[in-house]
């Protein structure tokens, strides 16, 4: 266990450092730092790709530092590095391209910390909630930069809003788990979306209208195109080198798991098997974007890093493809483009529902993916774009519906008389 911890610490630190170095090299240190600072004062609401805002260099540095906040927290709290924390750190890094900044995530983390204290729990018992709860980072940035406050009042308001958000998240997160019973991997997406509904409603009641945001990079930089494929291939190679044939065996055994929360593939399988799975998911995700003609940009990197992270915590090739197929069918039937931003994001993030396919089969997975796309096209507006895990929110609603139907059907079939 300690060996795995050290291995992952080196791996994640390596990823973070290489992003920083790549960012400084790509744009030069001056431009990269300026870009990083521009990103800090952006609201980051959906859909805000940070690359046009801060440049490639600034965005890479932002992502690295956001990830570093999460990693430092895990180290300080002496939490084991394994599937869930690997997923959390990669997700934070990914969304550092697409809404999260080191500044807008800190108040939420502080709020969760205070919640743990009040509940008499150790902070590390809520660390997963804190790390994934940073999905509401744009809520903090929105309060500071868009709501109308200025100066110190804006900072105080943002800080307060973030702390209150983080404080309430543990209670919401635990309740939301029961709705879908672990069949929606991005439970914090559902929880944050649920909270954001109330927050957005309050904002609208105060007379503020959310301006729609669409910042989408289509520049085609080779750095952005090849970043994730290169990382994914590296993970596969690392997994193979570290465990050789056993890594492949464990990768294959992981495909038999449902993926239902909490499935730590590094524990249920092995570190090597999980890394191979994670890398292959990144490769297939990248290939999907390439074949449908989508743009490689900040949002796509967020999606790819997230699904790669969850490649160690619930998602694998066998339980993902039915969901993605459902999204594709839904996209085509409703006349949307596969390469359009929302369907493309949905195709990647819909794998939040992978456990449904893993447990209940291919047809259930396809239906789940189909419904998911319909929902996700609506839910972003409901919560003012403040919840970055919009697909987790839509996925949670979808999973809840499907779980309710399956549970009813099963309980109706069983009869004691």
């Amino acid at each position: 266990m300690e060996k795995r911890n050290q291995f992952l610490l080196v791996l994640l630190t390596g990823i973070i450092l290489s992003f920083i170095v790549l960012g400084l090299i790509t744009d030069g240190s001056g431009d990269a730092i300026e870009g990083f600072l521009r990103i800090q004062i952006h609201s980051g609401r959906l859909i805000s790709d940070f690359i046009p805002i801060g440049g490639i260099g600034g965005t890479l540095i932002n992502a690295a530092f956001a990830g570093l906040v999460g990693l430092i927290l895990v180290i300080i709290l002496k939490v084991q590095l394994s599937g869930p924390t690997y997923a959390a750190i990669l997700t934070i890094i990914g969304f550092g391209f697409f809404g999260k900044t080191p500044l807008n995530i800190l108040p939420i983390i502080l709020g969760v910390f205070l919640s743990a204290k009040l509940a008499g729990k150790m902070f590390r018992e809520y660390i997963i909630i804190a790390l994934f709860g940073t999905a509401l980072g744009p809520l903090v940035s929105f309060i500071v930069f868009e709501f109308g406050f200025t100066g110190a009042a804006a900072v105080a308001a943002g800080l307060t809003g973030g702390i209150i958000t983080g404080f309430l998240l543990p209670a919401i997160a635990v309740s939301m788990l029961h709705l879908h019973q672990g069949y929606n991997l991005y439970n914090m997406g559902l929880s944050c979306g649920f909270f954001a509904l109330f927050a957005a409603s309050l904002v609208r009641a105060a007379g503020h209208n959310f301006e729609s945001t669409m910042v989408w990079y289509s520049g085609g930089s080779p750095v952005i195109i090849w970043l994730i494929p290169a990382l994914s291939l590296s993970l596969v190679i690392i997994g193979l080198i570290s465990e050789k044939i056993n890594g492949i065996k464990e990768f294959l055994s992981i495909q038999k798991l449902s993926g239902r929360l909490p499935s730590d593939f590094m524990d249920l399988g092995s570190l090597g098997g999980a890394l191979i799975n994670s890398g292959l998911i990144g490769i297939f995700g990248s290939l999907y974007i390439f074949f449908v003609g989508g743009s490689f940009n900040g949002a796509m990197i967020a999606g790819l890093l997230t699904i790669m992270g969850f490649g160690a915590f619930g998602t694998h090739l066998k339980n993902s493809w039915p969901i993605v197929l459902g999204v594709i069918l839904s996209t085509l039937i409703f006349g949307k483009g596969l390469a359009s931003p929302s369907p493309l994001l949905a195709a990647l993030f819909s794998t939040t529902l992978a456990p449904l396919a893993g447990q209940f089969g291919i047809l259930t997975g396809i239906i789940a993916g189909f419904i998911h796309l319909i929902m996700v096209l609506q839910t972003g507006v409901w919560q003012g774009g403040m919840n970055l895990y919009n697909n987790g929110f839509a996925g949670g609603l979808t999973a809840t519906l499907i779980v309710a139907v399956i549970q009813w059907h099963r309980s109706s079939k069983e009869d004691l008389s």
Partner: protein, 125 residues
């Protein structure tokens, strides 16, 4: 979580696991002390050595406070799909799985920081 709730969730999860094999008999026994409890569950189904080994491994997982504090809330409540012994494993002090004449016995020991294993009968290894 209140003690009563914890006990109910444990009983529900472990019973749910054994009931998947549809035993004819299932016996549940609880012994509580101030700082801990011992829960024992017996069934009358045949289990292979591999199954017993897996159960004991899942129930004696290293503690994962980052998972038990959050996902542990699903223990004994969310029963669609297979029961998951690792949800219990993260929360118990010790677990034993032994064969009886007709089936198996699963012993679980839980406790807080002041848990004194001598007040219970956790076998010494």
């Amino acid at each position: 979580m209140k003690r009563k709730d914890i006990i109910l969730h444990l009983i529900s999860e472990i019973s749910g696991y054994l009931l998947e094999e549809n035993p004819m008999r299932l016996v549940i026994s609880l012994h509580q002390e101030k700082d801990g409890l011992h829960l024992s569950v017996m069934d009358d189904n045949e289990h292979t050595d591999k199954e017993i080994e897996k159960m004991e491994k899942d129930l004696n997982k290293p503690k994962r406070p980052e998972l038990s504090g959050y996902y542990g809330a699903m223990t004994g409540q969310d029963l669609l799909g297979s029961s998951r012994l690792n949800l219990l494993g993260w929360q118990v002090k010790h677990a034993d799985v032994t064969r009886t004449s007709g089936g198996i016995k699963i012993d679980l020991w839980l406790g807080g920081d002041k848990f004194d294993s001598r007040r219970f009968n956790i076998p010494e290894k």
